[in-house]
């Protein structure tokens, strides 16, 4: 439930897995994650199991992007899905490395 994360590559790649609703309630977890992350690490955010995402979640993704600097922030989500709609409506695919996967 919520957010889980793991690191690889001596902490340089952080995998974040978001399930169910992705919104402002995840702020605290995200902040901790960002504080713990090294500058210039890369992120892979797996939203394939998320069901809902709002604009404050987009804001959290922007924080990740800033932390990553010029490094990769990859978003994974199911296409078509509610998440994919939000990502494409906001045109965030231009900011993130987006990997749309087909539903199982």
């Amino acid at each position: 439930m919520g957010i889980t994360s793991r690191t690889e590559n001596q902490g340089r790649t952080i995998f974040i897995n978001v399930t169910e609703r992705f919104d402002f309630n995840q702020h605290a977890v995200f902040r901790k994650l960002l504080n713990d992350a090294k500058d210039g690490c890369e992120f892979v955010v797996d939203l394939t199991a998320a069901e809902y995402m709002d604009s404050s979640a987009l804001g959290l993704l922007l924080l990740l992007r800033k932390k990553a600097g010029n490094n990769r922030v990859e978003l994974r989500y199911v296409k078509p899905s509610a998440i994919e709609k939000v990502v494409s409506a906001s045109n965030f695919s231009r900011l993130f490395d987006c990997k749309a996967v087909s539903p199982l």
Binding site: S56, A89, R94
Partner: protein, 580 residues
């Protein structure tokens, strides 16, 4: 006071005299009172005594004790009744009532607890058991106090939040909304998720007679959203008044929002310019749902292609601005994503449950906003939406019925660099008087270098053609009515009534001026929505030159004033030329 029960080490720490002030002992047997007093005082309590329920209530009111030890069976008022009263007096704080019962009867214990007792002890009271009960109840009380304190803090926070929202609302109303010019035909609908909505509607007339409308959607609500709304509104109005283009405005807005908003905040927005002179609209949209326009009987959805504002510092807006022709477009609808995402109790979004029907009602322009309100009520069932719902509907005919002045050196119509073209559409519920049109034209200073007699000639000529267009083309009045003095009066009464509440339709006026080395040439075109003149009848009339007749003089005057006059069949478009 000293704690004398420190033989039991585990309870020693909790028995601090500071939290133990006054115990009320209620018993009709004086000997029992004395025993309890002695035990409690050893534990650090001060004590007070009451002998029946009435005295207990009185003492409770007067002394506000921290504990009550209550006998059950007493004269006048028994312990259970007294406990009920005391509990009803102590909302907001926790004062434990411990019943002291002679019987260990489960029924009686049940009745005591039901009456509001927090615990019970059998008589004779065992001091060790009493101590344990007090310890346990004090623990509950401290938990209760903590909860109650947190509850108060929460209430305070909520009040503070409400105050913040009210402040945001005030800021929004005075500093943001107040700057919006009223534009007829522009209606907006808003159902905020909180007091200040993160949604923002800005509108302004463009220098050249068109309009600019923006719908923004900030992440967040309340003050956090209002922070960005203020500079956004200021920039929007200032730059629009300066005649700055969409990309110029967006670049500034984006720059400003990047600097002032926290990294995780931004503003999705759709911005649209409507330019009736060029007959086109320009738009940019970032992170918003599609905007919709109605063209003929089709609804056309324009998806958003840009990123929201306040994210990327260097952003090329020029390449993202789109445009389209206004021909055949009746109405344009902008919306924030709140509408599509409103959920009902089952969690289904509005976009999946009623959006299409709603758009059909918008297309037929049939009480759209009240229909929207009803549908949302039905959908939400009194719940507030998660996000703000905002829509802006622009009725182009109404919105553009007011002056559309162009100083463009429009390439196809006035190739001379010094020339000008001036166009206007009047009508659609907002009909202008001919003097208002002339005033507007003279205000532009276009005529300031003209010889006075030429300016007067234009005014007269224009007045005739424009009034003809209104009276015959738009109102359908019959001039022959003016053949008697009473009829003349009736004609103008009718005209006045129709002027105040004009029928639909527009009168289009276009003036193109080409300066010559000396003097110049002005072409005036007036077009009305009517069926046209009966051209043969008109020429017949002009043969019979009776200066005393009440009607039919207008066209004659026009002919005499104009250097060239063309009436385009069927007669609803007249072109006149002035040269000097």
């Amino acid at each position: 006071m000293s704690d004398q029960c420190n033989t039991d080490g585990s309870l020693n720490l909790v028995f601090k005299p500071v939290s133990r002030r006054l115990a009320l002992v209620v018993d009709d047997e004086p000997i029992n009172c004395v025993i309890m007093q002695s035990i409690l005082e050893k534990m650090g309590f001060e004590t007070a005594i009451a002998h029946d329920g009435y005295e207990a209530i009185e003492a409770f009111e007067l002394l506000a004790p921290d504990f009550v030890f209550m006998d059950v069976i007493m004269p006048h008022m028994d312990g259970r009744e007294a406990a009920r009263c005391i509990k009803s007096m102590t909302s907001g704080r926790f004062t434990p009532i411990v019943f002291l019962t002679a019987l260990d009867d489960p029924e009686e214990v049940h009745a005591c607890i039901e009456a509001g007792g927090d615990d019970y002890l059998s008589k004779p009271v065992d001091p060790r058991l009493l101590r344990t009960r007090i310890y346990s109840l004090e623990r509950i009380r401290s938990l209760y106090q903590k909860l109650s304190r947190q509850h108060d803090e929460l209430l305070f926070k909520i009040a503070e939040e409400q105050e913040n929202e009210a402040l945001a609302n005030r800021v929004f109303l005075h500093a943001v909304s107040a700057h919006n010019e009223p534009i007829s035909g522009l209606d907006s609908y808003s159902r905020p998720a909180s007091c200040f909505s993160g949604d923002l509607v800005l509108s302004c007339r463009l220098g050249q007679g068109g309009i600019r409308v923006m719908l923004g959607d900030f992440t967040g609500h309340g003050l956090a959203a209002a922070i960005g709304a203020l500079p956004t509104s200021e920039l929007f109005h200032a730059m629009t008044r300066q005649g700055r283009s969409i990309p110029e405005l967006l670049t500034e807005l984006n720059h400003k929002l990047c600097r002032i908003l926290p990294d995780d905040r931004f503003m999705a927005a759709v911005l649209i310019d409507i330019d009736p002179v060029k007959g086109e609209f320009c738009y940019w949209s970032g992170g918003m749902p599609p905007f919709v326009y109605k063209s003929k009987d089709q609804l056309i959805y324009h998806s958003s292609s840009g990123l929201p504002l306040g994210i990327l510092e260097n952003y090329d807006f020029v390449s993202e601005v789109g445009s389209g022709r206004l021909t055949d477009i009746e109405r344009i609808l902008l919306m924030s994503d709140g509408l599509l995402d409103v959920r009902n109790q089952e969690g289904a979004t509005f976009s999946s449950c009623g959006f299409k029907d709603l758009m059909d009602s918008w297309a037929s322009n049939d009480g759209f906003f009240s229909a929207l309100d009803e549908r949302l009520d039905q959908h939400c069932q009194n719940r507030l939406p998660d996000d703000d719902v905002t829509l802006v509907s622009i009725d182009l005919e109404k919105a553009l019925a007011v002056l559309n002045v162009s100083s463009d050196q429009s390439a196809d119509l006035s190739p001379e660099p010094e020339g000008w073209e001036w166009a206007l559409a009047s009508g659609g519920g907002y009909l202008l008087d001919h003097s208002e049109v002339i005033t507007a034209l003279t205000d532009t200073k276009y005529l300031q270098d003209w010889p006075a007699e030429q300016a007067e000639r234009l005014q007269t000529l224009f007045g005739e053609l424009y009034n003809n267009a209104i009276e015959h083309g738009l109102f359908g009045l019959d001039s022959s009515l003016k053949s008697t003095p009473d009829g003349f009066h009736l004609y103008y009464e009718k005209r006045q009534a129709l002027f105040d509440d004009p029928p639909p339709g527009q009168i289009r006026i276009q003036m193109t001026f080409l300066p010559r080395q000396q003097g110049g040439c002005l072409r005036l075109v007036v077009q009305d929505p009517g069926k046209g003149y009966d051209l043969t009848r008109l020429s017949e009339l002009e043969q019979h030159d009776d200066p005393s007749r009440f009607w039919g003089r207008g066209m004659q005057l026009v002919r005499s004033l104009a250097d060239n006059l063309i009436i385009h069949p069927p007669g609803n478009r007249v072109e006149a030329e002035l040269r000097w």
